[in-house]
């Protein structure tokens, strides 16, 4: 009987937290490689735990998927925040955009996290902060004259998601990614 502070998540036992992380890691890798249709058992195996352990941490496959995406979004948001803090306003947005597309060439889950609408996984507004950072990057780029004033955050998010999905499912190589991005960036710049 642990006095559970009326809060939400009570501090997990050391081993539990370690496992939780291993599972998240494994799930990230497995789903990135085989898509969300990959089996939970694969995740368990990769994490080196029994299947029951996965389900103890994430009562449903859905929950696992959700957790993974939240996690990913949080990391991306941090990255964007960092860029907003000390990147060159004129290029930060482009840099981030390109970097993200780069990543998703290897991830099968990235994109879905960018589209709260697209998935039916409610992730408790974890997209919000991310979107906010994109908005910041956008404003700065516009202030620096690097992006046409009319462009809105919506479109940037949409283009980001589309490029990522394209890069992923299309299997674009680095060169093609670069040239495609160049076009999109030009579009953001000119009327």
């Amino acid at each position: 009987m642990v006095a559970s502070s009326a809060g939400e998540t009570r501090p997990l036992r050391a081993d539990a937290r370690r496992n939780r992380e291993r599972i998240l890691g494994a799930a990230g890798a497995v789903f990135a490689e085989h898509g969300p249709a990959a089996s939970t058992e694969q995740v368990a195996e990769r994490a080196g735990v029994a299947i029951g352990t996965v389900f103890r941490h994430f009562p449903t496959k859905r929950d696992l998927l959700q957790a993974i995406m939240k996690d990913l979004l949080a990391r991306l948001t941090a990255e964007a925040t960092a860029l907003a803090a000390d990147g060159d306003p004129a290029t930060a947005l482009f840099t981030f955009f390109a970097r993200l597309v780069e990543q998703s060439a290897n991830q099968k889950t990235v994109i879905e996290s960018l589209t709260e609408t697209g998935t039916d996984l409610p992730m408790a507004g974890a997209v919000g902060p991310f979107r906010d950072q994109i908005a910041t990057l956008l404003e700065r780029a516009q202030a620096a004259g690097a992006v046409r004033p009319g462009v809105r955050t919506d479109e940037v998010m949409a283009l980001l998601a589309a490029q990522c999905q394209g890069a992923l499912h299309g299997g674009w190589d680095a060169d093609l990614r670069g040239r495609t991005l160049a076009i999109v960036f030009a579009g953001l710049r000119h009327p």
Copy 2:
């Protein structure tokens, strides 16, 4: 009699050909609606045939998916060809591009057909002719000064695919689709 791409396809019995078509139609609809995870039995039911019949025509679910995409690509190619024949060179590419993105907002299979690489479904080069038409549209647009010279077919294909996937999985509404396309089009126009 019928031009058959591969070796020994014998002329099908009339009812067999009719069934083949009904299955393809049903599969198109079903997979468009529920994604490729939809069950083959649903397809059979929608086509009004028994499950065995589906498997006689397409020995594998994979084969069915493949056939569907070939079919779709053929239709798209025809559309592009028509535009190349009598559309305005300056706008035909854009028109086609926009039309396709529009469609995929409702289709769940379209995009995958655009990326022979992305899918693991080899479709015997059915992408070739499609790509050729896109190339034609592109050249004309460039000749008409509507697209910057440096742009290659590759990028156009890639952007097309990306936009379609975005439109589909992102659930973009008509407005967002329009604004996103505007940016991409501007990118194609300006250096």
Copy 3:
């Protein structure tokens, strides 16, 4: 100190005994409500202890079920004893019978405790004392002329169990319970 049925039970630590009781109470409630298929974890939660504690006290779910029934039987025996001591000989049996049936309309475990044979849970003869009290009630009722001489304890036990199970699984309302009992009581009275 405590009268313990089996061999070498050492006097439990105070908190241990308290826990044991809380578990028994919780188990009684949970199994009464959801039947024996309810999960042990539910019991633990209701008792406010960890699952490990439940298994420390009752190494097996079976053991827990068993203990619960012994417990219940003991309570019933006490009740019967009280009635035998100061109830009206002519009606005490009937009163007790009716009361028990009444209870089992709300309990999902009661009945099984009445049938040592029926369950595969050996309960170390805890039925014995209970049965003895029923026998007493019966003898008195017969002495008072309220029950036909030929009736034996066996049948009374059997009828009791049957009525309880009927009341429980059949979902009889108070009225039906009354009328059904009336018939059984009449049967006990007349040849």
Copy 4:
């Protein structure tokens, strides 16, 4: 069972019907022996079919249980009808009652079928006809003076269910069954 006279069940293929019957038979046996908690796989094995076949015929375990009980009830109803047709009015009810209790000493499912309320398996009123036959038997017995006028069908049904459950879960032997029934019958006869 019966040639599907009712509703829209289309005539099953010969092998399908054979399997359906084998599954029902197996399920009857398995559930009778181990109770409704027995696994569907056991049923499949006993029926000599693959697990998928069981689920093709009965999409849910629930459905299987339901079917079994409907089946059983139909058989019992037929039996009761026969007795109503050519049995001795004075004894037919008792005969049937006794026979049923006898059976349920070996069946683990019988009883539940008698209590539409008790189970949460809706069986489309299959209890109705059965109940009607019991009512008939009862009326005749009352007309013949073998049962007290005040007794209603409700109570008879309830007693029947209770006795069956008792016989089943209590593991009564033939002798005890006889003596218990004698008491109940006496109760039905006398005020």
